[in-house]
């Protein structure tokens, strides 16, 4: 799980693995690892999900955690435009550090429509980059399973 702080990475993982959600923001320090058995092409696959702390001025990513990763969810918060810039930066950095990996770009907090900041100029940029993108909401569960399934599919291809 890659993305700026407070975009909802931990919430997405908890919604996916444990089907629970909390409105209270609790920052992640360090790395949390969870597992989930999923189906892909009639195979049972165990996903080991590395919920990595969000990067900001206080905590920089250590890319050693990324060694051996098969893919990642790149997460941004649709109500905070700056999290898109951070996603762009992290995606570029991931390519430099560990090479090209399959990933899905998830624009989270789709339930907060009134506060939405990702305008069409960002959508244009995403389209230009050709990223596989989903709008999700860890709060309502919208597209959460789909995001992980999509990533799993890309990793298994």
């Amino acid at each position: 799980m890659l993305g700026s702080f407070a975009v909802g990475k931990t919430s997405l993982v908890r919604r996916y693995v444990e089907s629970i959600y909390s409105d209270k923001y609790q920052t992640t320090v360090g790395v949390k690892i969870m597992k989930k058995v999923a189906q892909s092409h009639d195979h049972e696959v165990t996903l080991v999900l590395w919920d990595i702390y969000g990067e900001d001025d206080f905590q920089k990513m250590r890319w050693t955690s990324f060694n051996g990763a098969s893919g990642f969810l790149l997460v941004a918060d649709g109500t905070r435009r700056a999290t898109f810039d951070k996603a762009v930066e992290l995606e570029q950095k991931s390519r430099e550090e560990v090479g090209q990996l399959p990933f899905v770009f998830v624009i989270n907090k789709n339930d907060l429509v009134d506060e939405w900041e990702f305008d069409s100029s960002i959508e244009d940029q995403i389209a230009t980059k050709g990223w596989t993108t989903l709008r999700s909401s860890a709060k309502t569960g919208e597209n959460v399973d789909q995001a992980f399934s999509l990533l799993l599919g890309k990793m298994m291809d």
Partner: protein, 669 residues
């Protein structure tokens, strides 16, 4: 390891392991409590730690590389979280090191430090989120502010001027009364709008003032570089070349008024817009120009140029989209405009001669030192022209150039000015105003701030440049819907002599310029030659009598009020500076500035404005220095006005005596 040493290490909270065969480890020490909680089956004679933890499995690759290298020191993992069978989270750290040349893995649970770190980061990130939320709220208010200004004020302008025009049409008393009711209601509405604007303005001031401080001033060049880097891939994908050039004359100083993140967003919006219309193989170039007190950015593309169906003002309007509908929400350009204007800059666009379009914006330079700040608030341009030199009052007609893109306002204002006997040239934008100004001579130029092609600020600047340093430039008056104190200050610092808030009424212009109030008033001039009625002109501050419409009684009253109120204000100002009361200093200086403007004392006016800004900036040491100079200037003005009152009184007495000498003769006849 001896059992005593093993116990000691355990008490420190560490568990030591030694590699033993393929992926296995042997425990060297007793298991600490956290380890027993986490993995109850430990310690076993030989353990596969990779099986216990996915994180360790990953880290052990790194650790083995370290052990194999034979390097000294240690290889430390970042913190990770494991859960006990009961679900309690345990923070862990792993350290690979050599003990006596033997490879050793130490596991540790930094429980206390970890929770302290979590608390600190939680507080810091909550604060960051609050800050972001606050900025978003401010931005919403800015947009609302502009909506109020433009959507509510513009029709009110037309109503005001239309009602003023009707007033002059020789109506009967009953109709006039009805008309007055309408005017009163529109006045009330205007007053309500202004109150709302002032409220927002006060709310925004903290942020805006922060925008102006030298420490937060963004660097235009660095912002451009940063956006270029982030948008580079998008340009590459579309095979559009992106270049950045800047003139050398700025000596590397591209600090401008504004705020870094919003400046980058402006760059980003303009570049995304250019990319959207650029064909593959073309170029988008950014050029930075040093323009002395301001810096200009041009974004040139080689696309189809501006859409013929949209005027530049529409392009920067709310929800404006090109006809081709390229998927934009119509907020990007609007955001650029309101942000640039809020920082005291201007923005525009034009089609390039061969092909493509230029989007540009200009921002004032940041105030990097207090001396620079003084320059900004006291620009070294000639003082505002004395109006009696520009306006041939004896002829009654004033040559007025009016530029406003709103046709109804233009028509009504022209009608009204012409009705009062003035000669009006009305144009629809800044470019036409510049053409007219270059071909004709004008006493007064009324410029709408926001006009297509060339805006009001830009037009005023070019007219001033064309006049050089001569004090004979026409009187430049800004007509603006952005009518907060902040906006007035900004427009005055941009080179306007006066600012009229839209919706403006004839009476406001009349008060400002001292025009006679109607044709009747002009034609009903006193039968005696003017100079026989007024005291010698040399005794008056320049243009003062004309500024009050030649009404000597009113002038005397104004002078008396000034002489009564100003010493109190000056005294109070000194106290407020001493008490470091920022708001009061700014407020008193503002009032004195207004008086200085009325009585034609430019030096006092400049100093009062400096003091007003220093008050707002809470720069009290400098305010105390400026106060001394202002006090001297005000004293000179007071002396001059007292002298006028004395001379004028003796003039009246002389006239009365003369009249008395004549009267007996008449009575004898």
């Amino acid at each position: 390891m001896s059992s005593l040493l093993s116990l000691f290490v355990r008490e420190l909270g560490y568990a030591l392991f030694q590699p033993h065969g393929k992926g296995k480890f042997i425990a060297l020490t007793e298991a600490p409590v956290w380890l027993r909680d986490l993995w109850p089956s430990l310690p076993a004679p030989s353990i596969d730690l990779s099986e216990k933890s996915a994180f360790l499995e990953n880290f052990l690759d790194e650790a083995r590389a370290f052990w194999d290298s034979g390097r000294g020191g240690e290889c430390r993992s970042e913190t990770w979280i494991e859960s006990t069978p009961e679900g309690r989270e345990v923070p862990l750290q792993a350290v690979a090191l050599h003990l006596g040349a033997k490879p050793v893995l130490a596991l540790h649970s930094p429980d206390v430090q970890f929770h302290e770190q979590v608390r600190t980061l939680q507080t810091a990130r909550n604060s960051l989120l609050d800050h972001e939320r606050l900025l978003r709220e401010i931005q919403k208010k800015e947009i609302l502010l502009h909506c109020i200004v433009h959507d509510l004020s513009q029709p009110l302008s037309v109503m005001h001027v239309a009602l003023d025009c009707l007033t002059e049409e020789g109506l009967d008393a009953k109709t006039k009364k009805i008309l007055e009711l309408g005017k009163s209601a529109s006045d009330q509405q205007e007053s309500m709008i202004r109150e709302v604007l002032q409220m927002f303005s006060a709310d925004l001031r903290v942020t805006l003032d922060a925008d102006r401080s030298a420490t937060s001033a963004p660097d235009l060049r660095k912002s451009a570089d940063s956006v270029l880097t982030s948008l580079g891939p998008a340009f590459e994908t579309k095979k559009v070349r992106l270049t950045l050039d800047s003139s050398e004359s700025a000596n590397g100083n591209w600090l401008v008024r504004g705020e870094e993140s919003r400046l980058r967003r402006i760059f980003s919006n303009l570049l995304e817009n250019a990319l959207r219309y650029s064909p593959p193989g073309s170029r988008v170039s950014i050029t930075l120009e040093d323009q002395g007190n301001s810096c200009q950015v041009n974004v040139d593309d080689q696309g189809p140029g501006l859409p013929p169906d949209l005027r530049p003002t529409q392009i920067f309007g709310l929800f404006s989209k090109g006809k081709e509908g390229s998927g934009k929400a119509g907020l990007g350009m609007y955001f650029c405009r309101i942000t640039v204007e809020r920082w005291g800059g201007s923005i525009g666009c034009t089609s390039l001669p061969e092909k493509g379009a230029r989007f540009w914006f200009r921002l004032p330079r940041a105030t990097v030192a207090s001396t620079e700040h003084r320059k900004r608030i006291a620009p070294s341009r000639p003082p505002a022209p004395a109006l009696q030199r520009a306006i041939p009052l004896e002829q009654g007609a004033v040559r007025i150039l009016l530029a406003d893109d709103q046709e109804d306002i233009r028509l009504l204002t022209t009608h009204q000015l012409e009705w009062h006997g003035h000669k009006v040239t009305a144009v629809a934008n800044g470019k036409e105003a510049l053409d007219a100004a270059s071909h004709g001579e004008f006493d007064v130029v009324l410029l709408d701030e926001q006009m297509p092609i060339v805006g009001g600020v830009e037009t005023a600047r070019k007219i001033r440049e064309a006049c050089g340093k001569s004090a004979k430039h026409p009187c430049l008056i800004a007509l603006t819907g952005n009518s907060t104190d902040e906006d007035r200050e900004r427009l005055l610092s941009e080179g306007f002599d006066f600012v009229l808030a839209k919706p403006f009424r004839w009476s406001a212009l009349n008060d400002l310029l001292g025009f006679s109030t109607s044709k009747k008033a002009t034609t009903a001039a006193p039968s005696l030659p003017r100079q026989t009625q007024t005291p010698p002109a040399a005794t008056l501050p320049e243009g003062l009598l004309e500024r009050v419409g030649g009404d000597e009684k009113l002038l005397r009253q104004m002078i008396r009020t000034f002489l009564k109120d100003t010493p109190k204000r000056i005294s109070s100002l000194q106290q407020q500076i001493r008490h470091k009361n920022s708001h009061e200093v700014a407020s008193l200086a503002h009032a004195i500035h207004g008086s200085a403007a009325i009585f034609g004392a430019p030096e006092a006016g400049v100093l009062a404005r400096q003091l007003q800004n220093l008050g707002r900036d809470s720069d009290f040491p400098r305010a105390a220095q400026v106060y001394v100079l202002l006090k001297e200037e005000i004293a000179k003005l007071e002396q001059n006005l007292r002298g006028y009152l004395r001379r004028e009184r003796s003039f009246v007495l002389r006239t009365l005596r003369k009249a008395r000498r004549v009267a007996p003769k008449r009575s004898r006849q």
